[in-house]
Symmetry: C2
Subunit: 239 residues, 2 copies
């Protein structure tokens, strides 16, 4: 929790990497860049994006703004770099959980558990969930999510809903995945923001299990999408 010791040891210089095209000089670039990202990640998490000044970041990384603007085009670009690292960590954690089992519904449960843990990570909550949309803009935010955690939800949805009973087209799978993704995010927020996170996680699990059980029941009964019709389509035709 201290403020120093963020920038890693810079002792090792690059040992003449011959593979790459033409980075022919020992560059501190990589370590400096990582240091900036690390400090920014910490400060963004603690104070949020707008409340974190570039001066405090470069001070924490023990460089100057010249270095920062040499590596990043601006504050937002730095945020994006931080955003990606946090997302990557989250993706890795969930992927690891998914590898623990192979059965589709079991994978769904394992993924749910991993996601509920990820969303309790302060870095993820603050940088991805809270500041992400506003800073990156909704378009870029969606693009990023599309390639990381959402992709995993999509995969799970595909392996369960598309398993055998139903044959869903791609758009429909996307729709289900988005809905579940939103449900999971809200569930995670609930857990993370609850007075008693453990009890909240328990309730969330129960609720999601119940919803999943409903879908499984429909699958067992061989009920298809076309079978559930509450004739409410016309109401939306005035967009």
């Amino acid at each position: 929790m201290a403020k120093s010791s963020v920038s890693a040891s810079v002792s090792k210089l690059v040992p003449k990497v011959p593979g790459v095209p033409s980075p022919r000089r020992p560059d501190f670039s990589a370590s400096t860049k990582r240091g900036l990202v690390a400090v920014a990640e910490q400060l963004f998490t603690e104070q949020g994006y707008s409340a974190t000044s570039l001066d405090s970041i470069v001070a924490g990384a023990e460089v100057t703004k010249g270095a920062l603007y040499h590596h990043f085009s601006g504050k937002q670009a730095l945020f994006e770099a931080v955003f990606e690292t946090v997302e990557d960590d989250a993706t890795r954690a969930i992927k690891a959980a998914l590898r623990t089992t192979k059965e589709p519904w079991e994978k769904a449960i394992a993924g749910l558990q991993a996601f509920l843990l990820v969303v309790q990570d302060p870095r993820y909550r603050r940088i991805v969930v809270q500041d992400g949309p506003a800073v990156l803009g909704y378009e870029r935010y969606r693009e990023q999510e599309e390639r990381s955690t959402f992709a995993l939800v999509m995969e799970i949805v595909r392996s369960t809903l598309d398993a055998g009973t139903w044959e869903l087209e791609e758009d429909m799978l996307q729709t289900f995945a988005r809905i579940f993704f939103g449900a999971l995010s809200a569930a995670g927020d609930t857990v993370a923001g609850a007075d008693d996170p453990l009890a909240a996680a328990d309730r969330v699990e129960t609720a999601l299990r119940f919803i999943i059980a409903g879908l499984q029941t429909l699958a067992d009964a061989d009920v298809g999408l076309a079978d559930v019709d509450l004739r409410l389509a016309q109401g939306l035709d005035r967009g």
Copy 2:
């Protein structure tokens, strides 16, 4: 879409309201304040919170910063005022839709339709969904949502899930409501951001109908929360 004519006509002065304790002077305060909120709402929607300067707001409202700071403690307070008006409009629209029917599940569908429309409103998307959490902070954001649209979702969930088959405790209802709220938000985003909003709305409806049908099936089969157990509780005990 023009930039002028935002501030409404200021012709009417207050006609000596005797009820209130001591607002004893004809104040332009109300109209000035509303004008600021109206201009801010427009600019916040078009450019987002951080990209909108106070100078542009007061210029649009044809006042000065002195007036703004007389009515609001700062930029964030002005945003909160805008936020509340947008939320109020959304709440009103959904409430009106809910009044069209009385049967619980029908109300749920009507509310869903109304919510899908609301979330396509650029003001709601930008001010409430996108900038709201980051500007207000998660705590205040949650408090606001708690009193408006989420309260409606909660009401619907209560009238359906708590109808007769199940007897759910308050915390469980809250959990379901949060999950559904997240699902609806994501569904709305999907619709609003889709290339073909109508087709997307159709898919969203189908998917949500399907999920609801699953719950109804469980209700018909008299399946309770305790009956669905995939023994996954222990995995979360490491919070």
